[in-house]
């Protein structure tokens, strides 16, 4: 199953809408609540990153029998140094974003801590793509 969500640049009032929709779907599919929590944290952080940093993007969420795969694709400035971006506390967020309590340099760490696999590809001036995979335990 595949679900696609558009993510608007700069619209913080809609940040979390994709996570909320996908969470409801995962609940309906009877995914383990502990695993839903990990997926939701990862997707939410990815959404906020697109809202805060990119010029817009989308989240493509796929549910397979043994895993959930999320692609977060944006058009935006890209990440010049991914290793630096992965460091806890490192942030390029604007003052406005920080005042809202975002931009503390914890988002990518939260994704890494909750995903089984996190792949980041980015091209400066083009955009960033995150692949997040969370494994689903075998039924029974």
């Amino acid at each position: 199953m595949r679900f696609e969500y558009n993510i608007e640049a700069g619209n913080f009032s809609k940040a979390g809408d994709a996570s909320s929709s996908f969470k409801k779907i995962l609940k309906q599919l009877n995914v383990d609540p502990q695993i839903i929590k990990r997926i939701v944290v990862s997707l939410y952080e990815g959404e906020v990153n697109i809202v805060a940093h990119a010029n817009g993007g989308k989240a493509i969420c796929e549910v397979d029998t043994n895993l959930v795969r999320i692609h977060l694709v944006d058009v935006g400035p890209g990440i010049p140094d991914i290793n630096k971006a992965m460091q806890a506390g490192y942030s390029t967020a604007s003052a406005r974003v920080r005042e809202m309590g975002f931009g503390a340099g914890m988002g990518l760490q939260n994704i890494k801590n909750n995903a089984d696999i996190l792949n980041i590809q980015s091209e400066v001036g083009v955009g960033t793509e995150l692949e997040i995979i969370v494994n689903l335990p075998k039924a029974g």
Partner: protein
């Protein structure tokens, strides 16, 4: 202990989300960094914060928190109350600062 119990004891204002007043409280989390709460708060926690915007409800709902308490007399932004109502997340207010309120809540939940 339920959300409605601590409202009486701590003399909290109820701004919205009254449908969730019977939520059970598992503990508390005090932070103004949203990713910190997203990463570390637990289901059923009460969240103490000075942030007043709509994303607070988004996080509280996604993390299934018991309620949010806004400190220092802060008033929630107008657009969050409908969201809080829909999600059944009580948005509460206190005149106290984070330190005092957290201390009182800690004592209530651990005694």
């Amino acid at each position: 202990m339920q959300v409605q119990d601590i409202i009486k004891i701590l003399n909290l204002e109820v701004f919205g989300g009254s449908g969730g007043l019977n939520r059970e409280i598992s503990g508390g989390y005090t932070s103004d960094l949203l990713s910190d709460v997203m990463g570390h708060a637990e289901c059923g926690n009460i969240w103490i914060t000075l942030q007043t915007h709509k994303n607070v409800i988004a996080i509280a709902s996604l993390k299934e928190l018991a309620a949010v308490i806004l400190i220092k007399g802060n008033i929630p932004d107008a657009d969050i109350l409908e969201h809080a109502e829909n999600e059944g997340i009580p948005v509460l207010g206190s005149k106290e600062e984070a330190f005092e309120l957290t201390g009182k809540l800690f004592n209530l939940l651990t005694r």
